[in-house]
Amino acid sequence: MSQIKPAMGHPAGGRNDARNPLIARDRDWHPAPLAPGYKTSVTRAPQRPLVAMPTTLSEQTGPAFGHGLIGELDNNLILNFTGQPAIGERIIVHGRVTDENGRGVSGTLVEAWQANAGGRYRHKKDGYLAPLDPNFGGCGRTITAEDGSYEFLTIRPGAYPWPNRVNDWRPMHIHLSLFGSGFGQRLITQLYFEGDPLIARCPIVHTIGQDKAIQSLIAPLDMNRAIPMDCLAYRFDVVLRGRRQTVFENRMEGM
């Protein structure tokens, strides 16, 4: 049976101490749930206000995944489907996962998925005319190192058209899913590539209101990590919700 190992992961007393509340989300920084330019969001956004309150143990604890979960090629999307190389521009995508206190988030699961070099997903609902690549599955995963760093080897995904307005195209992007040490830190986002002219035209990108927030999703070219005669590199750092660093507040007398 598929089973994550319980009771491993984040020791009490450390910086991931589950007794510490998570810092409240800045909902003005995140995308608006209802963004008319992204038509599907119009019927999928709650109308009632969210019920807001400080986090509890239910958000401050979360599942942990061991390094043992990860297979040797899991973070190599070029080879992990058939063992034969996928077609496309070879790139390293790497960065550091930190929290809002600037500390590295170690040992956390990062999952990625993307279209192939032609902009086609391996999915029965994707009927785009660009062909499937027989050697590209489209997903990968890794666990962050002690300092929060991670890396993937993949091909640069293609842009693709999608049904929204008549001629909407998604910029090249990689979807990323991250955990942290508390369920309330759970995050899915998308990585875009420096210089892509479609970013400015994308209604999904522009569900985010603040330009600085959008800029934080654009990975710059990183020639320091590019490997000569092999692959280019892009750097993408991710910030997860942090914890308020005190155990003294909101505690009943005597607890």
């Binding site: 598929s2 959008i214 910030v239």
Partner: protein
């Protein structure tokens, strides 16, 4: 200054490729999809099966919804980094459940969680935390599933919901000896309570 949290973006229509690739026929990369069950054989407590749907504001069943669940064991201890103790080794507490592509129905088989204290020490009603993503959802939606026949008295989180008739949207309805139904409505009449926590 402190860094800002990375902004969310929609999981999109192809989220299953990344999170449950075997479910969409991408085999050979991962042995199995993560989070197939939050319990293993021998888990202590009352095993229950919860089924439901997620509907949008147009009343359409969302066949592309993906839900992650996180819960305590039957004694109310979380299976990872709970400062109060070690949980039942047969409870991982976390599951990834996907709506059926044809019917939109999802199913969670688990044990009923115990009560967990809120930060002020008062006991919260037994609950399973849910995080819902799909195309059109720009930031994952947080809600909680409770059981209509459980001892839910005195829960400080449920007490926080001003329109008390909306509490019913967070209650799984008993439909059989160990079966419950929990329908989630994202928008409109009967809209589920979602949390910012």
């Amino acid at each position: 200054m402190y860094p800002k949290e990375t902004p969310s973006q929609t999981a999109g229509p192809y989220v299953h490729i990344g999170l449950t690739p075997n479910f969409v026929g991408i085999h050979g990369i991962y042995d199995q999809d993560l989070g197939a069950s939050p319990i293993a054989d021998g888990a202590k407590g009352e095993v229950v099966t919860i089924t439901g749907t997620v509907r949008d504001g147009a009343g359409m069943v969302m066949r592309d919804a993906l839900i992650e669940t996180w819960q305590a064991d039957a004694a109310g201890i979380y299976p990872s980094n709970d400062p109060r103790g070690v949980a039942d080794p047969n409870v991982s507490g976390w599951a990834r459940i996907v709506a059926d592509f044809d019917s939109g129905e999802w199913t969670l088989r688990t044990v009923k969680p115990g009560r967990v204290p809120a930060p002020d020490g008062r006991l919260m009603a037994p609950h399973i935390s849910l995080w819902i993503v799909a195309r059109g959802i720009n930031i994952g939606l947080q809600t909680r599933l409770h059981f209509e026949d459980a001892d839910n008295d005195g829960c400080p989180v449920l007490a926080r919901i001003e329109q008390s008739d909306r509490v019913a949207t967070l209650m799984a309805k008993k439909t059989g000896p160990s079966d419950y139904r929990f329908n989630i409505i994202l928008q409109g009449i009967g809209e589920t309570v979602f949390f910012d926590l």
